[in-house]
Amino acid sequence: MLDILTNMLAMCIPFSVALLLASIGEMFNQRAGVFNLGCEGVMAMGAFIGMLIPFAAGGGGAVSQWYNFFGFVAAAALGAVFGIIFAVITVTFRAPQGIAGIGLQMFGVGTAGTLFRHFVGGTQSIPGIPDIDIPLLSKIPFFGDVLFSHNAMAYLAYLFIPVAMYILFKTPWGLKVRAAGTNPRAADSMGINVTRTRYEALMLGGALAGLAGAYLSIAQAKMFSDTLISGRGFIAVALVYFGHWHPLQIMGGALLFTFAQTFQTIIQSMGISFPYELAVMLPYVLVIVVLSFTSKDQTMAPSSLGKPFNREIRT
């Protein structure tokens, strides 16, 4: 029994990284007042480009870790480009963010699928990145497996949480982001360039979503398919609500949802005759339940979330 629990918990941290990165990115978007539902599409593009680079370099065989690194960099850069595209649509043209996000999602998922079929073809796997056992710490029974033997990106992602908190709460730029999302008019009158801040936040959010997608394809699945993302982008958006726009609570949420997702793996490996589909359904049901309990209380939400800012119009 303890073995199973150790297995489940050991899966939690590496499997939660994609959700975590995407949610933190989305948190920056929403803190700046932009609701980016296109996260799913950006993740798909990141997953595709992240997989393409090591695949093209090694033809599916072993490659130098540098190519995986380039895959992550390219995914982040592409994600940032998508962030800029979304910023042009919603910040410059002030299009309604919900529906524009759906457009970006369709575009991203569709483009990733189209390019994948042309450049890669069928199901092709890549070697991925190795787990790093931290010396000494990984030898501790139970905790060693659960906490200290994962791949480098997983450690980096978790190290990024305090960094994200520092950026958001302690730097001038973080203050600008929060001001742009809470009261853009006041921010504007204090000389903050709201448009520019929102562009920057969307770039950062897009880059993180791209990284999250690349993590899924390079480190987690070690392949790309049309169903690789399967709603993780949307769950990431929901997690931001669940986590009350705070990195630490978002981390808790990401771990909770990943725990729910690992059920399906565990059930398969143990051979219990429990309908597989119900296990797959579980995280999605959990999202709705959690949103039902947390959405009523909007006191923590950035008060200008979803509202385009126009300094020419009095509100």
Binding site: L37, G41, I89, F93, R94, A95, P96, G98, I99, A100, G101, I102, G103, L104, Q105, M106, F107, G108, V109, G110, T111, G113, T114, L115, R117, H118, F119, D226, S230, G231, F234, I235, V237, A238, Y241, P275, E277, L278, V280, M281, Y284, V285, V287, I288, L291, S292, F293, S295, K296, Q298, E312
Partner: protein
């Protein structure tokens, strides 16, 4: 500002939007090394060249039209329903359930009963996010997406277990599908595979036009969509109409599933929903959220979806390209709408235009 200038301004923006959409799609096509012109020809024109193709286009336009009408009702009421995919799946399940349970009931009773079941199945699945939004302020964008995934899993669970074709159990090919439904729920066909759903779709469009523009309920729904706060001051229960519009929207998606099953497939298989739910959002926007705009829009998108199925064999372009184009179209439409409704921008262009004219004179 002259009237001629206003019309010219609108036409110019729409033209720019179309050119931009075509350009972005061309870039993607160029990236995968396809012949851009030939691809557009295959997708948008080739399907119109013979009657067989046109009837296939119409078959795809029917569910699109019904779903898009439902989505436009919700959109006009201030809710974006992207859960049509799941609602359609639930409609199909309900339809199949009735058809499998009463195979011997005569057709005039069974077909309406089964269609009603699909309406209820989809309606309930649409009502859930509606009521969650109205009572608990849950973002319908997220809840409908989640319900899509839940419905998709539930759908394959049902096909694999309770609806599974007994013949499959005997021969054990393992294809998750129901048995061929009784002839008593089949929808008649006009020519080829084209079924009478086409007439149902048009009738529904007219009914929704009457509901939305000629009745109090429709007025209240549109009012709560265009200004929730003002509507509340006018004594309209915004939450109630939000939930109602989602139930209607879901009912339409469910019905689209039932009609698709009764007219085309006649047995529940995987992949009937075929992304119609998401395409429906694009069709609704493209049709200007008006039933009579949605009818031609659904034909156009039926054309694109059918054309994209021809693309892999004819020009070597994956069928996913239709999803790319739909994404581009949504983005371009919402952006162009903002530019069109921006009076400041229009004024600026007008002044520029006048100063240019003065220089010439």
């Amino acid at each position: 500002m002259t009237r001629g200038f206003r019309i010219a301004f609108k036409a110019a923006i729409i033209l720019i939007a179309i050119v931009a959409a075509v350009l972005i799609a061309s870039v993607i096509l160029w990236l995968i090394g396809a012949e851009v012109g030939a691809t557009f020809y295959t997708i948008c024109i080739a399907p119109l060249t013979n009657m067989l193709h046109i009837s296939e286009v119409l078959i795809r336009a029917i569910p699109l039209c019904i779903i898009a009408i439902g989505i436009s009702v919700a959109y006009r009421s201030g809710i974006i329903n992207i859960g049509a995919e799941g609602q359609m799946a639930m409609g199909i399940l309900a339809f199949t359930g009735v058809a499998l349970a009463f195979p011997d009931v005569p057709r005039p009773v069974l077909l309406p009963l089964a269609l009603l079941a699909s309406v209820i199945g989809g309606g309930v699945w649409g009502y859930i996010p509606g009521i969650l939004r109205a009572k608990l302020n849950v973002s319908e964008l997220l809840s409908t997406v989640m319900l899509n995934y839940i419905a998709a899993q539930f759908y394959s669970l049902c096909l694999r277990t309770i609806y599974l074709d007994p013949a499959e159990q005997v021969y054990g090919t393992g294809t998750p599908q129901s048995m061929r439904l009784t002839e008593n729920v089949w929808l008649g066909r006009i020519t080829g595979r084209l079924h009478y759903g086409v007439i149902i779709a048009i009738v529904l469009a007219v009914l929704i036009y009457i509901l939305m523009w000629k009745t109090t309920i429709g007025f209240r729904m549109r009012a709560s969509g265009s200004g929730a706060r003002a509507a509340r001051y006018a004594g309209i229960s915004v939450g109630f109409y939000a939930a109602l519009s989602m139930a209607i929207s879901g009912a339409f998606s469910g019905l689209a599933g039932g009609i698709e099953l009764a007219g085309v497939h006649r047995r529940a298989i995987e992949g009937i929903t075929n992304n119609y739910g998401f395409s429906g959002v694009v069709v609704a926007l493209f049709g200007g959220l008006h039933p009579f705009g949605i009818i031609p829009a659904s034909f156009f998108f039926g054309l694109m979806i059918y054309g994209a199925t021809l693309a892999p064999s004819k020009v070597g372009v994956p069928a996913n390209i239709v999803q790319v184009m739909q994404g581009i179209i949504i983005i371009v439409i919402v952006t162009a709408q903002m530019v069109l409704s921006n009076a400041y921008f229009q004024d600026r262009v007008w002044r520029k235009y006048q100063s240019l004219r003065k220089k010439e004179a």
